[in-house]
């Protein structure tokens, strides 16, 4: 990519941020503020029943005396579950954002302004995808880091009051570099994993005459129901292969564990509780070796070409 192309892309990303400040900027900061508010509030309420902080201090001292692995599981696990809230809301925001991204400017006719700029339609589609895969995750990641640091600072204050070493009790067990790098890697692989879903939404957004998100849901849902009904009527069985379920399963089985804990198919695997559950490079990278990943990316590529094709022909009205 030339410098000019990169410059254009970064300008277009800036444009997306300007258009959706609430979803991209204020939502992650808002979640962050809510979590901190909740924590501070709990501590204040707790402090009322725990006048001398005896109970809290006891808990913290007990934590400080745990073996290292146990402390790591508890502290980094707590921090990870905090970030899980961010991931779930981020996914919702991305789904809604993408379904409107190539539709809203057609509806309000501002597409005529955007098309009067020397920017190709492929570049426009790429900028929407890059917003969903890079810009939004980056902003949510920044909010997660901020929240983690502030939570650890609050813990540090309490730790010092309780007379435990905050570094060995909270900061080291949090294994922040590993936690954050796995998370960042996970967000990128997650974006690749969900690319066919993202591309499907962009595709629907590029041609839907109205309500693109409903159309994007109704088509696979309708096909799934029709297929179910057909196989049920003809052979009294449920189909083993169903588009609607495949899409739902992909959304549900994100790379980042705990993003949405729905297991279709009814086989719950036994889960071993250790920090490897959420802090494991190989599980994340393992997704890259799965054939479903590459089939999904191939489908995504086709859908993105389709979206660009429709975008090239799109005007107002």
């Amino acid at each position: 990519m030339s410098n000019r192309t990169l410059g254009t892309l970064s300008t277009l990303l800036r444009r997306e941020l300007w258009e959706s400040p609430v979803a991209f900027k204020w939502a992650p900061l808002g979640i962050s503020a809510l979590i901190l508010l909740f924590v501070v509030f709990s501590l204040i309420i707790g402090g009322r029943f725990d006048a001398e902080m005896a109970f809290t201090s006891d808990m913290l001292r007990q934590l400080a005396e745990q073996p290292v692995e146990q402390k790591r599981l508890l502290v980094s696990g707590a921090l990870f579950s905090v970030s899980a809230i961010f991931f779930q809301i981020m996914l919702l925001i991305i789904l809604f954002y993408l379904s409107g991204s190539l539709f809203d400017d057609r509806k309000d006719r501002s597409i005529l302004f955007w098309k009067s700029l020397p920017v190709s339609d492929g570049m426009t589609v790429a900028s929407k995808l890059a917003s969903a895969c890079l810009l939004v995750p980056a902003l949510f990641f920044a909010a997660i880091v901020l929240t983690h640091v502030l939570l650890l600072l609050i813990a540090t204050v309490y730790g010092l009051l309780a007379g435990v070493n905050p570094l060995t009790t909270f900061w080291f067990p949090a294994s922040l570099p590993r936690l954050w790098s796995v998370m960042l890697l996970g967000m990128l692989v997650q974006a690749l994993w969900l690319m066919p879903i993202y591309a499907w939404l962009l595709f629907c957004s590029s041609w839907a005459p109205r309500l693109p998100i409903l159309i994007a849901i109704a088509i696979p849902a309708g096909l799934a129901i029709a297929q179910h009904a057909w196989t049920l009527i003809t052979s009294f069985t449920l189909p083993g292969f169903n588009l609607g379920l495949i899409m739902l399963k992909r959304l549900g089985s994100g790379v980042l564990p705990m993003s949405v804990n729905i297991e279709f198919g009814g086989q719950l695997q036994s889960i071993e509780f250790s920090e490897d559950l959420f802090m494991n490079y190989s599980t994340v990278l393992g997704y890259l070796a799965r054939p479903e990943m590459w089939i999904g990316l191939a489908i995504a590529l086709l859908l993105l070409f389709g979206a660009t094709w429709f975008r090239r022909r799109a005007t107002d009205g």
């Binding site: 254009t8 501002s110 597409i111 020397p118 339609d121 107002d316």
Partner: protein, 292 residues
């Protein structure tokens, strides 16, 4: 010399309707062309084809580029204002200017700010908070700050009051237009643009009814006003069109014998609006529509 716009047998169908029915067009640089036609005549379809916003059949090159395939490169040379509603309503004025500056290599921020200096448009305002007239001022300032070779205006002054409209065209003419640029305008308010046009194109049912320079138009067409007792004599000379105003009969002639005509009464240049009515086969009042 290379034509700014060159079209051969340009066509566009919507089902069985022919929105563009085989148009040939040659627009050189340094012209201000009015593309005039009734609603649904194919004006916007033609502009959209030229801008690469819709597909078409036939041959079309704009600044030597194929608009259907090279819209992004074409837009470095071409600007257009559709009408007032198209600037994104969520944006602030400063954001729109920033975006245009970063995305358009030929945009000059100084020129844009110069054009906005005397308006009420503030950089921190949101587009949705601006009045229609202010949005047009902003859009025109953006477009005039781009050093483009072709400017396309589709009903640019629709819904604006007369002060804005006058200001709009005088800015365009005094501050923007020169011999290297071409401006293509469609509008219903013909009387406002006829003094600035160098070329006139009438379009109806996807066909060009008239395509010539204003000088040719003035040479070719003449309007004759006669008393009613001389109307028959005038009719005998084969006018294109006849109308009655305050008991006087007004005839429009195409390439008439000036000596004969001058003998019958007062002659003058027809206005574009009168010419439009005569050539398009519609009566001004009562508003009956004839097709043909």
């Amino acid at each position: 010399m290379e034509m700014t716009i060159k079209a051969r047998n340009l066509q566009r169908h919507f089902g069985s309707t022919r929105a563009l029915d085989g148009i040939d067009l040659d627009i050189p640089e340094g012209r201000i062309v009015g593309l005039i036609g009734p609603n649904g005549a194919g004006k916007t379809t033609a502009l959209k084809a030229i801008l690469g916003l819709s597909k078409f059949d036939g041959e079309l090159t704009v600044m030597g580029l194929d608009p259907a395939r090279q819209r992004d490169r074409l837009m470095e040379q071409v600007c257009f204002i559709a009408d007032v509603a198209v600037l994104p309503r969520w944006a602030r004025v400063s954001q729109i200017i920033d975006l245009t500056e970063r995305l358009h290599p030929r945009f000059s921020r100084e020129r844009c700010m110069h054009f906005l200096k005397n308006s009420k448009v503030r950089p921190e305002s949101r587009i949705r908070a601006l009045s229609k007239g202010m949005v047009v001022q902003l859009h025109l300032a953006l477009v005039m700050a781009i050093d483009a070779r072709l400017l396309i205006l589709d009903e640019p002054t629709l819904g604006l009051d007369i002060l804005f409209r006058k200001q709009f065209y005088s800015n365009l003419l005094n501050e923007y237009f020169d011999e290297q640029r071409t401006i293509l305008i469609t509008t219903h308010q013909v009387e406002e643009v006829e003094h600035i046009l160098t070329d006139l194109i009438f379009i109806r049912d996807g066909k060009l009814i008239l395509n010539s320079t204003m000088d040719e138009v003035h040479e070719r067409y003449v309007e004759l006003m006669v008393r009613s007792d001389q109307a028959d004599q005038a009719r005998a000379l084969g006018p294109l069109h006849e109308r009655v105003l305050f008991g006087r009969h007004i005839f429009l002639f195409d390439r008439a014998d000036m000596a004969q005509i001058k003998a019958l009464g007062e002659t003058h240049k027809p206005s574009v609006a009168d010419l439009f009515v005569a050539l398009m086969g519609t009566e001004p009042a009562p508003a009956t529509e004839t097709t043909g």
